[in-house]
Symmetry: C2
Subunit: 354 residues, 2 copies
Amino acid sequence: MKKIKSLGYDVVFEDNLNELQSFLIDHDYSQLLILVDRNTNDHCLPVLQASIPDIVDYDIIEVDPGEENKNIDFCIGVWKTMLDFGADRKALMLNLGGGVVTDMGGFAAATYKRGIDFINVPTTLLSQVDASVGGKTGIDLDNVKNIIGTFSQPQAVFISTAFLKTLDDRQIRSGFAEIIKHGLIQDKALYQKCKSLELPVVPNEIVFESVQIKNNVITIDPKEKGLRKILNFGHTIGHAIEGYSLENDQSPLLHGEAIAIGMICEAYLSFKLNNLEEAELEEIVQYLSSVYPKYQFDQSIYPILLGLMRNDKKNENNQLGFSLLRSIGDCDFNKYVEEADIIESLDYYRNLNS
Amino acid sequence: MKKIKSLGYDVVFEDNLNELQSFLIDHDYSQLLILVDRNTNDHCLPVLQASIPDIVDYDIIEVDPGEENKNIDFCIGVWKTMLDFGADRKALMLNLGGGVVTDMGGFAAATYKRGIDFINVPTTLLSQVDASVGGKTGIDLDNVKNIIGTFSQPQAVFISTAFLKTLDDRQIRSGFAEIIKHGLIQDKALYQKCKSLELPVVPNEIVFESVQIKNNVITIDPKEKGLRKILNFGHTIGHAIEGYSLENDQSPLLHGEAIAIGMICEAYLSFKLNNLEEAELEEIVQYLSSVYPKYQFDQSIYPILLGLMRNDKKNENNQLGFSLLRSIGDCDFNKYVEEADIIESLDYYRNLNS
Ligand SMILES: NC(=O)c1ccc[n+]([C@@H]2O[C@H](COP(=O)([O-])OP(=O)(O)OC[C@H]3O[C@@H](n4cnc5c(N)ncnc54)[C@H](O)[C@@H]3O)[C@@H](O)[C@H]2O)c1
Ligand SMILES: NC(=O)c1ccc[n+]([C@@H]2O[C@H](COP(=O)([O-])OP(=O)(O)OC[C@H]3O[C@@H](n4cnc5c(N)ncnc54)[C@H](O)[C@@H]3O)[C@@H](O)[C@H]2O)c1
Ligand SMILES: [Zn+2]
Ligand SMILES: [Zn+2]
């Protein structure tokens, strides 16, 4: 068992959930509400239930799985179910699932009766290395990602890689994009380790190191006034592509898949505007292209993408703010980029050999 | 011009809005969004506009007036309009209106892009003496009052009693209930002053003193862990009656009217369970009955009222927590009351001579 201290709470790494059990015994919550989606209900809830002490009563709230359900309608459903269960201010919400469940459950808890406690038990690689830590909660509105939300810290996060066993390959790869990102922005050694891995197996150690990097950044800058923005590398363009795909594709891109595209475009911008060496650009592009499939789109969607970027949270004073690499392992933020360059970076991606 | 220091911000009392003007000039917000309802758009916006420096651009967001619109649907409308106006994280929301506008606007701001700044310019007596100060934001869901919300402090509050000129008598009386409450729970002298007033005229001094009392309480206990609960005197039963009335009456009770009923019931409970002297109970009941009309209801609605109370935020571990007077000017909190006594207090109210 390992622990990382975050913003007033612990991130616990354990495969047996013993610490989670102690947490529930030690705290005097009036009620336990477990938020799951259909998949985590099937695959993860039985494992969790074995760890809930007999003395603790709980109720289950189930939502439909998938990003398209991380919206206000489902959130209203969660709030109403909390009301139906008579949840009071001393209730605890346990979010058991991927980033959709931890983001929406965190938001629902942070706003129910002006805020009840919640804990995260992330069950996807993506939520383990990224979404469950850092206090960002949120939901989408009109396909603008995470546009409604709060900064609200969980009381604890329990990470058990045992949950990943039932996760399919594509989901593992999607989550893995955030690990690559952590390497690219802060830790060249981690990036090198990534490259040596044979996916879909991701050693515990890599998960742990990845959370450490994210945690270092967010504890320095919890509210994203500065440094924390480097975690958005790949996300300005990536979120726009994700939003577009969600609206238009039969089988939409996963978050990490979209972020991988965003990282290629933004690595290009880093090369063009922020002194990233061409050799490093090529190296990044080659590696990302080897892990993630090529996404086909044409210039006709650029206006939509740019519109989505303008609505992005990272946008200030009508300028599109990017986080750009200086080199592998080193990232700058608050880099304002012209639309013409963004378009050039999208062209760059489209023209890569697939 | 007078100022009260609150939780990291000033509450400014001024009739000319000079300080508001300076605030807008001194701060470098990317954008100003003004939230109004139809009435404050007509009556208050022109006055405000005269005080907005020429250099500041602004957009108006208008909602329908009234408590029945303080709900998630309208809030979604506000969020979407913010998005349409391209509001970024450095935008400022200015809530110009009564408690409905300050509560909902505060919530919309606190959750838009994980929180943008907002200021309150309250235009009803109720919002001046109560809703605009203290950081509680919120909306109703399924007629459960303020069930969704946050604790989020405004950057400043500007109180100009000049706005009250266009407010009708009934609204003044409704707001006045909170001033009476402040007297009852903390300041016998203020309560006596209330009694000597000839409504609807409320001197500035009384507004100021009333805000001072609320502010003293909330700065000691911002998150309502203890002392702040005394501000809920009259509100456990009052909110239930308000929720019922909203759902069932053609012309529903106003907040303060419902709270006045709640204060009579809870004064009765204070007498029965918390050593409030019978003479003081009678004195309170007589005074409140002289200011507020009698509300007619019968026993058949008790189960509905009790149901609403159970969903109330003040409820913990399935016990109904009340704030009860010990004497005029002195209030206790965390008093758990049996349903039988609540019913007795409702009977007591119903049996008063109207
Ligand atoms: N809050 C943050 O800081 C932050 C950071 C990164 C991403 N996010 C958000 O996270 C979301 C993406 O997270 P995600 O990739 O975990 O998506 P997800 O929650 O939709 O999970 C992906 C899929 O895997 C299923 N699943 C989850 N755990 C499983 C398990 N153990 N076995 C089998 N199936 C399982 C889910 O039901 C879902 O179908 C996005 O909404 C993104 O915005 C948030
Ligand atoms: N956040 C808090 O701490 C807190 C405290 C007390 C009450 N509240 C909330 O406040 C709300 C009630 O506030 P309210 O009584 O101000 O209601 P309100 O906002 O509905 O205003 C009452 C009516 O007066 C109109 N109006 C407002 N200003 C006017 C003016 N200057 N001239 C003419 N008409 C005007 C409004 O359009 C509305 O029709 C409730 O929702 C209650 O829950 C919140
Ligand atoms: Zn991400
Ligand atoms: Zn009130």
